[in-house]
């Protein structure tokens, strides 16, 4: 499915909620997140994509596309997100080095790093189609 599509975020919600390890790691997290994938016209990504989800005590209660009010906003060019999903860039390093721009309380976000790491592992299992130059990247392997 197409990265950051409605179908994708619904799948993300399902995958996160059905994983015991993620539920445990995210326990106590009640926040909402907006993930902004900024365009890279020179790499064939013409448009910005925005997805979001809200979590209540570790359970994803809602996932959507488009912008709305959230506790955190994480933004980066499309390719940075692809690198994270590919495993070429660690999500925590991406945050602390500002490759991923964070708006909201960074320390609070970093304190939930176990669930972030597990989330990335889980997203890797979703067969995902990327745009432009990233079309050749293939995901969809089993989570460890």
């Amino acid at each position: 499915m197409r990265f950051a599509s409605m179908e994708y975020v619904k799948k993300m919600q399902e995958v996160l909620n059905s994983d015991e390890q993620h539920r445990r790691a995210a326990k106590g997290e009640t926040d909402s997140y907006l993930l902004v994938l900024d365009p890279e016209p020179d790499k064939g990504v013409a448009e910005r994509h925005i997805v979001g989800y809200s979590m209540v005590d570790g359970e994803v209660t809602e996932a959507w596309t488009g912008q709305r009010k959230t506790t955190f906003v994480l933004s980066a060019p499309y390719g940075v997100w692809v690198s994270i999903l590919e495993g070429r860039l660690g999500p925590i390093a991406a945050m602390t080095t500002r490759r991923l721009k964070i708006r909201g309380n960074l320390l609070k976000l970093l304190s939930g790093s176990d669930s972030t790491l597990r989330m990335v592992e889980l997203l890797r299992t979703i067969p995902t189609e990327f745009e432009g130059e990233y079309a050749s990247v293939k995901l969809g392997q089993e989570a460890g």
Partner: protein, 340 residues
């Protein structure tokens, strides 16, 4: 003994209009006949939380006429139109001597620490008075105090020509800060406000973009308006802890945040961003010298206050049509003036 009507503070949520003796001006004091007295955000806080001394007549945003002067007062005569600084400094402490008058060690504040202007008459030290320039109406002059406070907030921020500014909260102070920031040379002023009426006022005061943070993601909106940098200066004129907490990543690296509103609740401060981004947080309290500036700007037609006046009410209605209206959640009213 002559008496007058005055709104007397009796504690939390208890303000009563009572008969009081008309005060006598002491040495160095003037007796003022009040034309208008504005209800300030700090009066609302005091009413809600009981922050003032019981028994005082509150109100400090005044436009008045001199009714009489006490012994030793030169240069003022009955009939002179005036406004009063809400700070009467000691003039001797280290802060007064270094120009930081708003944080004077031994300040007197009419309407806060002694009787003020929600009354037919009040007395005040003549040295705290400013004569109104011709062309400045009494109604305009009643907003000298909040205007001066807004100018002081911008002075405290160190705002520079070309800065992009975010103002969170478009109550009277937020709206006046928009105007002050533009005068100080802001390239653009963005305003975040949930109330529709106040958003319209923000546009009228010159905000280039007005954001409803309930509908639009404020972080994202500000990022988009600043090439992902964040605002150079953020004024937080909202008492919401969430709004205050959001300032840490709405401001650019090395930027300045000026908290103007007072949060009663603790704020989840993001000290990691404060340290890593070398942020400056600068408090601002009241004002002093900016009174003269505010009046001069009004006289020149470079400072607007009329759009902010949402109602003029009689003193008898100060609670029902004033305090209670402004304390309603989501109140749209900007400034309510009391006319004794």
């Amino acid at each position: 003994m002559e008496t007058m009507k005055a709104a007397v503070f009796h504690g939390q949520g208890d303000l009563r209009v009572e008969e009081r003796p008309v005060p006598e001006p002491g040495p160095g004091e003037a007796l003022l006949r009040i034309k208008y007295c504005g209800i300030c955000g700090s009066d609302l806080e005091a009413y809600r939380y009981g922050l003032y001394e019981p028994g005082i007549v509150i109100g400090h945003e005044i436009a008045a006429e001199v009714a009489a002067v006490g012994p030793g007062v030169a240069g003022l005569a009955p009939g002179d139109r005036v406004t009063s600084n809400d700070i009467v400094p000691c003039g001797e402490c280290r802060y007064c001597r270094t120009g930081r008058v708003s944080i004077c060690d031994a300040v007197t504040m009419p309407g806060v620490t002694c009787d003020g202007g929600f009354a037919e008459y009040m007395t005040v030290a003549a040295r705290a008075l400013y004569r109104l320039p011709d062309g400045v109406s009494d109604l305009q002059a009643a907003l000298t105090d909040p205007s001066s406070n807004a100018l002081h907030a911008v002075n405290r921020s160190g705002l520079r020509l070309g800065d992009r500014v975010l103002v969170i909260g478009a109550g009277p102070i937020g709206l006046l800060i928009v105007q002050a920031a533009l005068l100080a040379g802001a390239r653009r002023v963005f305003v975040a406000e949930m109330n529709e009426t106040r958003r319209c006022l923000a546009r009228e005061m010159g905000a280039s973009e007005v954001i409803n943070p309930e509908v639009d993601n404020l972080d994202l909106a500000v990022a988009d308006l600043t090439e992902d940098q964040g605002a150079d200066v953020v004024f937080c004129a909202s008492g919401s802890p969430g709004a205050m907490a959001s300032t840490f990543t709405l401001v650019r690296k090395g930027g300045v945040v000026v908290p103007v509103g007072i949060c009663e609740q603790p704020v989840a401060a993001d000290f990691l961003s404060l340290v890593m981004n070398e942020l400056d947080y600068r408090g601002t309290y009241a004002s002093y010298d900016e009174y003269g500036l505010a009046l001069d700007l009004m006289a020149q037609g470079r400072w607007r206050t009329e759009p902010l006046v949402s109602a003029v009410i009689p003193l008898e209605q100060i609670v029902a049509e004033g305090f209670e209206v402004l304390l309603q959640p989501g109140a749209a009213a900007a400034k309510i003036l009391v006319r004794p």
